[in-house]
């Protein structure tokens, strides 16, 4: 199973790189010129994102480094314990929408401490894979087109994250609980 997945992920990008230019050339498109024309927007797009990301990552970093995030975890713990949710995993759940790198760090630490095949290991692996860094994605995508009023995008993003979290706890409890 693992080897097959490995092979797939090794081949996807090279195959795309082969297929797309060949298809374009078959249609008589000047491939080099068209590529460069599209690529010329890359720098502008990346630079445009900077102020949005600075604003968001500074706030997240202050929230995390000050210990306010831990305080939030303490507040939430009594609510989640009855749901079969081990308190060790809570920092990951709170961190996941805010910072992809930090959440991955927490997940790695839990896997190293409790073992990948333990209940906590399976749960945090499932949580890491099933949700995304909602705040980062929203900041990046909206920032790239200069949108500052997100309307309900944060609500639906966080509702989806919370649902994935509850579903992870449910399914891992069902399949892996001793």
């Amino acid at each position: 199973m693992l080897e097959v997945l490995d092979e797939i992920s090794r081949w996807v990008i090279p195959l795309l790189l082969l297929l797309i230019p060949l298809l374009a050339a078959a249609r008589g498109i000047p491939v080099f010129e068209v590529f460069v024309e599209g690529a010329s927007q890359g720098f502008h797009t990346a630079v445009k994102i900077i102020p949005y990301l600075v604003a968001m990552l500074v706030a997240i970093n202050v929230f995390r480094a000050s210990g306010a995030m831990e305080a939030l975890v303490h507040l939430l713990a009594p609510l989640l314990n009855p749901l079969g949710f081990p308190p060790e995993v809570l920092p990951h759940a709170v961190m996941r929408p805010l910072s992809g790198g930090a959440a991955l760090g927490i997940a790695t630490d839990l896997i190293a401490t409790h073992g990948p095949d333990s209940f906590i290991g399976q749960l945090v692996s499932t949580m890491q894979g099933s949700t995304d860094t909602t705040f980062y994605v929203l900041t990046l995508y909206f920032g790239s087109v200069g949108i500052t009023r997100y309307r309900y995008a944060i609500v639906s993003g966080l509702m989806a994250d919370f649902t994935s979290l509850v579903a992870s706890v449910y399914i891992v409890n069902k399949l892996f609980h001793p």
Binding site: P116, V137, Y141, L175
Partner: protein, 197 residues
């Protein structure tokens, strides 16, 4: 919404740090955060430039519109305001496909193209998100990944007997999250009403 969350994180951070008697941690966190943001953006330059070029080729070759045609029934339901032949639709589909395949590097540039195209369809205030953008981001942040490669790698490193055991549970959990994203998006779209595009 984002204003309150942003202010909330900063104010609560400073209050808690002061209560712990370590306000200087805030100063350090500000510099680190800003540094990380700029580095992330600059690191994106290389991969963005490359994939934006490939995207343009994929569009010109007709690959994008072929893909868009295939999944038309689904996208027509999810994005009623986007004309089926508009380039935004192609970019949305490319982004979601890259997400499903776990190609994070390729997914971001394609998603940014999709946002630019959706912004062209924005007939209201250019600083306010449209309903289609909210739907797209709800799908994007909750998007199904078939192969969560990073976490499988970490499980392998720490000696898991079955590193891919979590693929099934991950797909189940993501599917639940995505369903919720679509439902909430549909409800809020009617609730908010304005900014119809």
């Amino acid at each position: 919404m984002v204003n309150y969350i942003w202010l909330g994180m900063i104010v609560s951070g400073i209050v808690v740090a002061a209560a712990h008697g370590q306000v200087e941690a805030v100063t350090r966190a500000v510099l680190e955060g800003a540094d990380k943001a700029v580095k992330t953006s600059l690191n994106l330059v290389a991969i963005l430039t490359f994939w934006l070029g490939m995207m343009r080729l994929a569009e010109a070759s007709g690959l994008v519109s072929a893909l868009a045609y295939l999944v038309r029934p689904v996208t027509r339901f999810l994005f009623p305001e986007v004309p089926p032949d508009h380039p935004a639709m192609g970019a949305i589909i490319m982004n979601l496909s890259a997400n499903i395949l776990g190609l994070g590097n390729a997914a971001t540039p394609m998603g940014l193209v999709a946002m630019q195209e959706l912004q062209k369809l924005n007939r209201g205030d250019p600083k306010t998100a449209t309903a289609s953008m909210c739907t797209f981001l709800a799908l994007n942040t909750s998007c199904l990944t078939l192969i969560p490669t990073t976490i499988i790698g970490i499980r392998t490193i720490y000696g898991s007997a079955d590193p891919t055991a979590i693929v099934g549970t991950t797909i189940f959990a993501t599917a639940c999250g995505m369903t919720m994203a679509v439902i909430v998006d549909r409800l809020l779209r009617h609730f908010y009403g304005r900014g119809v595009t």
